[in-house]
Amino acid sequence: MELLPNITVNHYLGLSVLLFCLGAFGVLYKRNAIIMFMCVELMLNAVNLSLVAFSKMWGGTDAQVFVFFIMVVAAAEVAVGLAILMMLYRNQHTTDTDVLNKMKG
C-alpha cells in the first residue's frame, strides 16, 4: 500500500529546487562563513533528495548509491573547508567574509 499516494515525484522535485535555491541564495548573500558553509550542505542535500526521488521513480538503485558518494564527498569537503575556516579565524579573528577584500580589479 502506498503510504502517501498524493505525493508524486514532482512534489519532491519542487521541494528540492526550493531547498537548492535557498542554499544558493545563502552562499551568495550571507556574510558569515559558517552560515555559508551550512548553505553549501543544504544545496548538496537538496540534490540528494531529488536523486532519491528520481531513483524511486525509475525503480533503480544507482542513484541511491550515488547519494552515498555525495555524502562521502561532502564530508571530505567539510573537513577541508573547516580547516580553511580555522586558519582564517586564526589570522583575522573573525569569520565575517567582509574582511576578505585584499584583492580587487
Partner: protein, 458 residues
C-alpha cells in the same frame, strides 16, 4: 585503469615516505610515477580497452591522449617548482596533494559515467583548496583558499543538480544510455534541458568562463604562484577535456540547440577578460585574466567539434599549458627575488638580470598572444578555422579583435623586460632549471613546426 592506479599509489607512497622520514625519495617517486604514466599512455595507445568497472571508466585514445598531455605538463611542473618547495617541511604533503589532484584529472578525462565525472571533479578540486591556502600566514593565500573553496563547492553543487536532473530525464548515469535516450528525443525535454544547462553552468564555473569567472582573478592572484601555474594549466585542461567528452559526445545531438549559448559565453569571456586584462598593473592578475581569455578560445574549440574530433582542443591545451606554465614560473622567480613584487616594474631589466628567464618569458608571452612561428599561433588558427567552418563568423571576428587587445598587454610585459634598469642584481636559477626553461622554449617553437606539417593534425 593502471594509469589511475599508478598515480594514486604514488600519492600514497609519497605520504608513506614522509612517515618513515625518507623525504629524499619524495620527488623521485612523483617524477617516476608521472614518467611511467606517460609511458603506459603510449603503450596502450590504440588498444581500445573494454570499459571497466561496470562501465564507469574507459581508457580510449581520447582519455590516453589527454592523460599523457596533462601528465607531461604536471611532470614539467614538478621539476620546475623544486626551488619553491625546496626545504619546506610540508612539501611531502603538498606533493601528495598534487598527485591526488592529478588522479582526479585522470578520472575526469576517462569517465563514461556521470558519477565518475563528479568524483573526478571533487578529487581534483579538494586538494587544490588546500594547495591554494597553503601559505598559512599569508592573508592573500587565505583569501584565495576561502574563495576557491566556496565558489568551487557552489559550482560542484550546481553541476550535481544538473546530473540529478539528467538522471531524472533519462534514468541513467551512463553516458552511452543518456546519449541513446537523448538522441531519441527530437528536442530535449524541459527536465533534460534544465539538467544540461546546469551542468554547463557548473563547468563554466570550473573553467572560469564569463559570467562565472569572477572568482578566478582573486584565486589566481592570492594562491602561491606555483599552485596558480598548476591551476591554470592542468586543472583547466582537465575541466575542458571533461566538458568536451560530455558536450560534443553525449549531448552532441543538441549542439544546434546549445551552439549559440556556447558561442555567446565564449564571446563574453573573450571580451571581458581581454579588456580587463589590458588595464591591470599586477602581472600575476594580468596572467590570470589572460588565462580566462584562453578559456574563451577553448570554448570555441568545444563549440566547433561536432564530429567529436578532440585534436584541436588537445593541441590548444598542450601549447597553452606549456606557455602558461613558463610564464607563471618566470613570474615566481622574478617576484621571489624582489620581496614578492608582481607589478610591471619587477620585470624591468630582466634581459640583463637573467637572459634565460627573459627569453623564456618572451616566447611564452608571444606564444599566448599567438604570434608565428610559435605554437600558440597555430593553436588559435586551428580553433578559428574550425569555428569558421561551423558558421560562427561573428565569433571569429570577436576572437581576432580580442587577440589584438591581447597582444597589447602581452607586449607590455616584454617592453618592461627590455627596459634597462640601473644597478640591478642578477636573478640566479640553478642550471637544471635553466635547461628546463630552454626545453620549454624549444617546445613552444618545435610544436609549431610539428603541427605545421600537413597531414599530421588533419
Amino acid at each position: 585503469m593502471k594509469e589511475l592506479l599508478i598515480v594514486s599509489l604514488a600519492g600514497i607512497a609519497v605520504l608513506a615516505a614522509d612517515v618513515i622520514k625518507f623525504r629524499k625519495a619524495v620527488l623521485p617517486i612523483a617524477v617516476a610515477s608521472l614518467f611511467s604514466l606517460i609511458f603506459f599512455c603510449i603503450v596502450d595507445w590504440g588498444r581500445n580497452e573494454n570499459p571497466m568497472d561496470n562501465n564507469m571508466l574507459l581508457f580510449d585514445n581520447f582519455a590516453l591522449g589527454f592523460t599523457a598531455i596533462l601528465t607531461f605538463i604536471s611532470l614539467c611542473w614538478f621539476l620546475i617548482t623544486t626551488e619553491y618547495f625546496g626545504n619546506d617541511a610540508r612539501r611531502t604533503d603538498l606533493y601528495a596533494l598534487t598527485l591526488f589532484s592529478i588522479c582526479g584529472a585522470v578520472l575526469m578525462v576517462s569517465y563514461t559515467n556521470l558519477v565518475m565525472l563528479f568524483l573526478g571533479i571533487e578529487i581534483l578540486s579538494i586538494p587544490l583548496y588546500v594547495l591554494a591556502a597553503s601559505k598559512k600566514g599569508d592573508r592573500l593565500s587565505n583569501e584565495a583558499g576561502f574563495k576557491y573553496f566556496f565558489l568551487g563547492s557552489l559550482a560542484s553543487a550546481i553541476l550535481l543538480f544538473g546530473i540529478a536532473m539528467v538522471y531524472g530525464a533519462t534514468g541513467s548515469f551512463d553516458l552511452g544510455i543518456i546519449s541513446t535516450a537523448s538522441t531519441a528525443m527530437s528536442s530535449p525535454t524541459p527536465l533534460l534541458n534544465a539538467g544540461i544547462v546546469m551542468i554547463f553552468a557548473g563547468f563554466a564555473f570550473k573553467v572560469s568562463a564569463a559570467p562565472f569567472h569572477f572568482w578566478a582573478p582573486d584565486v589566481y592572484q592570492g594562491s602561491p604562484t606555483p599552485v596558480t601555474a598548476f591551476m591554470a594549466t592542468v586543472v583547466k585542461g582537465a575541466a575542458f577535456a571533461a566538458m568536451f567528452r560530455l558536450f560534443s559526445g553525449t549531448f552532441g545531438s543538441f549542439i544546434e540547440t546549445y551552439g549559440d549559448v556556447i558561442a555567446i559565453i565564449s564571446a563574453l569571456t573573450l571580451i571581458i577578460a581581454n579588456i580587463v586584462a589590458a588595464v591591470q598593473t599586477n602581472v600575476k592578475r594580468l596572467l590570470a585574466y589572460s588565462s580566462i581569455s584562453h578559456a574563451g578560445f577553448m570554448l570555441g574549440a568545444i563549440l566547433s567539434a561536432q564530429n567529436g574530433d578532440p585534436k584541436i582542443l588537445l593541441y590548444y591545451i598542450l601549447t597553452y599549458g606549456i606557455a602558461s606554465l613558463t610564464s607563471f614560473i618566470v613570474l615566481y622567480h622574478v617576484s621571489a627575488y624582489q620581496q614578492g613584487a608582481e607589478d610591471f616594474n619587477a620585470f624591468k631589466g630582466l634581459v640583463k638580470r637573467n637572459p634565460v628567464l627573459a627569453g623564456a618569458m618572451t616566447l611564452a608571452v608571444l606564444s599566448m598572444a599567438g604570434i608565428p612561428p610559435l605554437s600558440g599561433f597555430l593553436a588559435k588558427y586551428f580553433v578559428i578555422s574550425s569555428v569558421l567552418q561551423s558558421g560562427y563568423l561573428w565569433l571569429v571576428i570577436i576572437m581576432i579583435l580580442t587577440s589584438v587587445v591581447g597582444a597589447y598587454y602581452y607586449l607590455r610585459i616584454i617592453i618592461a623586460m627590455f627596459t634597462p634598469l640601473e644597478n640591478s642584481g642578477r636573478i640566479v636559477v640553478s642550471d637544471f632549471q635553466k635547461y628546463l626553461f630552454l626545453l620549454l622554449s624549444l617546445l613552444m617553437v618545435g610544436l609549431f613546426f610539428a603541427a605545421a606539417i600537413p597531414d599530421w593534425l588533419y
